[in-house]
Symmetry: C2
Subunit: 250 residues, 2 copies
Amino acid sequence: MSGWVQIVGIGPGDDALVTPQVQAALAEATDAVGYIPYVERVAQNPNLTLHPSDNRVEIDRSQHALEMASEGKRVVVVSSGDPGVFAMAAAVFEAVEHGKPEWRNLDIRVLPGITAMLAASAACGAPLGHDFCAINLSDNLKPWALIEKRLRLAAEADFAMAFYNPRSKSRPEGFEKALETLKAACGDNRPMIFARNVSRPDQTIKIVPLQETTPDMADMRTVVLLGSSQTRIIEREGAPMVYTPRSVAS
Amino acid sequence: MSGWVQIVGIGPGDDALVTPQVQAALAEATDAVGYIPYVERVAQNPNLTLHPSDNRVEIDRSQHALEMASEGKRVVVVSSGDPGVFAMAAAVFEAVEHGKPEWRNLDIRVLPGITAMLAASAACGAPLGHDFCAINLSDNLKPWALIEKRLRLAAEADFAMAFYNPRSKSRPEGFEKALETLKAACGDNRPMIFARNVSRPDQTIKIVPLQETTPDMADMRTVVLLGSSQTRIIEREGAPMVYTPRSVAS
């Protein structure tokens, strides 16, 4: 048996952000599984069978990948961004832990990619240039109280912050509550960055003072960054640049 | 004037992790500045003048890059990993903010790369698969008390954690203090991961229960990850896999 599973990160959208390592995995694979729009990004290849699936079936998709690898297939699990950041890698390992014993000894690898928060940070400067945290704002898989606790503690720690999945159509109220919590916990007007369709031709970057933010500024195609109390804005002729200095005075 | 500065992330070591976007910037540049070992990784090109410099001269190096771009040069500032994560991007923007007014209107871009924590996470599974934070453990540029406060709050928030610059030759005591703080604040035996020379041929990954860790397990070539209270280890024939589940029960 020479099957394998490689959970590959195809980055936030621009093909120029796909690593050669991931390109090589895609070229060698016999089968690709993943959420429909991500699988659609994989270059057509007559030797590659595509298995697109809907959102929220991450465990089914993982089991399918592991089963095919058990049968000798070379399977890529296609993830946007980096597979290890709010994406498919944890789902595959969850399926391994609770699945067939023989799945544990499959050749399973994770190939890193450019995750959305780092592409967004690069697009506007270096707002994550000092200590920071990354929080998934979706409460599909964790209680809202935990999200709120993390937001308050992150503000107290004065981390810069990155927020994934800020606002879904089905639960638009979460981001509104998150903004209320952050406005109160931070208490200042540090910049929040709304990066939509980052790295794609229709990318938009909006820099908004925290107290002036409104929930409609984000949707599920937006990654949201928030500076720390130290974050600076550099005004210039074009779009301003935002960065968090490396130093904090004693 | 057609000069520019591109602050490029060349990833943690493996050339297969350098994005095509960064490769293109390196091919177009006239000048490359950066810390000696990173500039040495840039492929020799007869049209590219290399300006390697020592560690801890990040602002001098940034000013040099900006000055050359003002003169019409196409300058890459070479950063390991991702330039926006404890690397050169924040230093360049600091030099811009406090430097010559005309530097503000230069064409300055940041090209993201694979940062060490995500390559390390991929190499052992998905330990950063849920909410996490990234902390630079060097106290060269911030007071130690702030680092300790962040470690305690990150443990209280139950973040997975990534630590950069855990231990320098000149200040070996910092990591010892960090481990003491984490052992007390976490109180359990969650896995800590020591990833040394990640993605290079001599990569080593050690997974150690937190209470059994010792300061000598890390050096400046190590990125250290710590699971949350939820992080799981999957035992198997080869190296175990570590992951943090996507779900937290209500």
